[in-house]
Symmetry: D2
Subunit: 141 residues, 4 copies
């Protein structure tokens, strides 16, 4: 059996409020698109947000790296492809690509490192024990 | 002694993320400017937000009316003028004008009706007793 | 043949960035949801945004009235129902309801008055001639 | 004469719309704070935005790296410290720290690589010739 890598695809269409007077999508807008994709990816990882919100345990972004490759414009249909990239004891990385399917162009790439914390104290928690076996192929040395 | 009317002025400068590809400020951005002004106005009204957040009592916007008069552009310096307009038993209205001081132009007008609610239940509370005397000139029949 | 009334339904799911520390959806977020619905509604009205962006003719919001009825929370699935409500010579109104389908609750209602303007001058244009006949049942005296 | 390093400080106060239902500032909000600081820093670098917007030459963010250190909360007063970090032929890096002055805590660090592009083609331009001498101490090998 091939090892499983959690992945997500979410679609967005560029709205006026995503663009700026330079005529292209503003860099903050891409990160909002990625927030949505990561939220669905985390949900798929078994971090049900309603439950987490009840337990006050949240996956939080510790680091973001984003490369802006090409500018999208008003009304573009974009797809955010996200996947679990790697994991450590108490942290994991997700990676994202924003693609414009009509011409196959890669607009943005992004990597985010996350931790799971107990709020309101903000204390980091270890990742769920089952991840180590389930996603063994993604573990970092 | 003249009756007191709480007022606020806050300055903002238009950033790229406030504009859209039509070349002007996006209508959502003006409302974010007004959110800031209203927050400072509410603070002045004795609704200290840190305290309210502790007590879980929040002034919440029940209705917004906004008229977009003229479009602002990138880098414009704008001033939001806000004031307590009127009050009832458990609701009050604030009104706002967004002015561009360099030419005196009126860009946006806005009125908001607020209630004070006990969260998380969302139960409406009566306005503080002292308001009725302090702002008697603003009471609505 | 029954008269046609342009309508739109768009779905959104509440993300972390839509909520605030009061535990509920922030009032600006609902307006972003409505922006999306109105954009799709305008598209359906024959105002193709790519074309309009090329001709520099844009439907612009002149007035917004919004009533906040009930607070939505993280992860809620909401539907924005929008329709063309009425039209005049050079202005039209759209109305919106944000519903939470899981319990049928009405969260937000909104009305927006729009004009079509030629940018960058901002000169108002008359509505397309065919609207008068096509949406005759929505014309205001 | 000591070499000059362009720096900027901008103040922000955390509003409701900057927070989320986890009770802390949302990661997108910090990047909006940094956008403001970078815009003022670019202005100080002689990239007057009104002029650039006229010439359609814009500094654009090519890469962002952001580390979230500690969570800020509602009503916190924060200061964004930005500076020109280094420059190459056609790219430059800016670095930012978001500090909470009341306790000296470092909340967020960020580095951004920028290029100057001619819009709408998006063609990269060389940095202004005078930068090489003026900021010689910041040049990268």
């Amino acid at each position: 059996m091939l090892p499983e890598t959690p992945t997500i695809q979410t679609e967005v269409q560029v709205m006026f409020f995503d663009t700026d007077c330079g005529g292209v999508v503003h860099n903050l807008a891409y990160l909002r698109f990625i927030e949505m994709a990561r939220t669905y990816l985390a949900d798929q990882l078994g971090m049900g947000f309603v439950a987490m919100s009840r337990d006050q345990q949240y996956p939080v972004v510790v680091r973001t790296e984003v490369d802006y490759k090409r500018p999208a414009v008003l009304w573009d249909k974009l797809v955010v492809h996200g996947r679990l990239e790697s994991l450590e004891r108490s942290r994991f990385w997700c990676s994202f690509e924003i693609i414009r399917p009509c011409d196959g162009m890669l607009m943005v790439t992004c990597r985010q490192m996350l931790a799971v914390v107990q709020m309101p104290a903000g204390k980091p928690l270890r990742l769920p024990a089952e991840w180590a076996t389930r996603y063994a192929h993604l573990r970092k040395a």
